[in-house]
Symmetry: none
Subunit: 260 residues, 2 copies
DNA sequence: CATATATGTGCCTTTTTATGCATGATTGGA
DNA sequence: TCCAATCATGCATAAAAAGGCACATATATG
């Protein structure tokens, strides 16, 4: 059990404001109520932060509990991909279930990047990953301890592969494994061209106490060639799918299904 | 670890401050209470240390008994946009000297990111790095074989640190080592707060046949505290500096100097 | 060898900071 | 128009930093 910290780590106003700035930069708009919940502070504190940032000329406030970026100068890669809103919702729902002090083993996918970005800034976490984009996202978290597992990087997944990474994972014991790349049918599946990754995924699942699966609607009922693990290996599934038949079957396998 | 505690208790303020700086560099954030317990001294002493470090401009303090460096992500993006065209020119000039089939060992810096982005798409390369941003840039190259060396990621450099990464480098033998983070005076230097990285850099230099140094004008003549290697260890220097005196001295050390 | 000085340290008190709650004002929409 | 939600302000409380003070140890000096 790595959850050694009980209390939420309190962020200083400066740190909070930096994170808020990032969020405003990414989302374009933030709500005081939501931020208050994320940071675990009262809305008053958030308003004070917003006022400070506004005084500094960094954000523009307007009624409605919101703020908008005033300097569009920092227009960095905002590659809005397919199903962005869908992935965002899934990631946020999964992130809400992570307790303080947890150790996470995260695979490579655009959905889990959303997940990482949605993790509450007030949580003290340890994030282990093979994916460069996940690592980059995790480094933006104010309290996360980030470990990157090395190896030759796959061009498609932008993540480490091969025996070295698998060995490193075998030596791990973590609280949560968070997967976003698998299809789900009778089991967790990967396409044949990813068979190299299949061993990695199953090692990740075995290293974890709980496995969270983040799957957009198109992943459900997708019978791909390689089965990584049975559905019962998954602790919780977060999905946007409304396919009641499949969801029912997955629930009956003992999986906690949450639709967003 | 009681043995450590005993040793730490005997530390002088200077030594303590060096360790604190290392921790801040790695974790991004430290708490006075925790440090007091670790070192076995009172919080007052820690506060005095933090005040000294703050006066020296090495850490940023904030209420909450904590200290940290500037916001990592924002800081990195800010650094990337600083002297952007200068770094771009340097990176392009260095990239032009790389032959087909070369194996590159690349450190973490905003300048080498430009270098990687400027590498000709027609070259068949092998790029090895400890930095997530360099890895991300290298993956955009159509032919490059990218290897990421793992480890715990430092927030400031966004790159792997520690014994694991150093061991991995020791086992390597590459054509080129490309550095962008060092200052240059009589030798290649690093600031005291990066002394953890100094071993990494010198291992990288030893692993390489040739060492390319990419230095913006402000790096020249900068006598930082830790010397990684003598100037003669560098094969070629690419710089925007016009300081003829220093450049002449470097040339006389046998370094091929190219100004852009 | 003894003593003076400096430095590091811990404890105490004062001041500053951060936060949450309560109250009143303002905004935007039904 | 009214109503609900959001925002600002004042105040109380708790936590933390700063400054003063005393004690210990080490170094230097006679």
């Amino acid at each position: 059990m790595t959850a050694d910290r009980k209390e939420l780590a309190a962020l200083s106003p400066e740190e909070r404001q930096a994170v808020i700035l990032e969020k405003v930069n990414a989302a374009g708009r933030v709500l005081a109520a939501g931020l208050a919940q994320e940071f675990g502070v009262s809305e008053d504190s958030i308003r004070r932060d917003l006022r400070d940032l506004s005084d500094a000329g960094l954000v523009q406030r307007f009624h409605g509990g919101a703020a908008r970026l005033v300097t569009p100068a920092l227009d960095f890669h905002r590659r809005e991909t397919l199903h962005a809103e869908e992935k965002q919702s899934i990631g946020r729902a999964a992130a809400a279930t992570i307790p303080d002090g947890a150790t996470l083993l995260v695979d490579s996918s655009t959905t889990v990047v959303r997940f990482v970005r949605s993790l509450s800034p007030a949580l003290s976490l340890r994030i282990i990953t093979t994916a460069v984009d996940v690592a980059a996202a995790a480094l933006d978290h104010p309290l996360a301890d980030v470990v990157m597992l090395g190896g030759r990087l796959g061009r498609l997944t932008r993540s480490a592969t091969g025996a070295g990474a698998i060995d490193a994972i075998r030596a791990l014991r973590v609280d949560y494994c968070v997967l976003g790349t698998c299809g789900v049918d009778h089991g967790l599946t990967l396409r044949a061209d990813d068979f190299e990754d299949a061993h990695l995924k199953s090692a990740m699942i075995r290293a974890a106490n709980k496995t969270l699966l983040l799957a957009t609607a198109d992943k459900l009922g997708q019978a791909a060639t390689y089965e990584v693990a049975p559905v019962s290996a998954v602790s919780a599934l977060f999905t946007s799918s409304r396919d009641t038949a499949i969801l029912k079957a997955i629930r009956e396998a003992g999986v906690d299904v949450e639709t967003v």
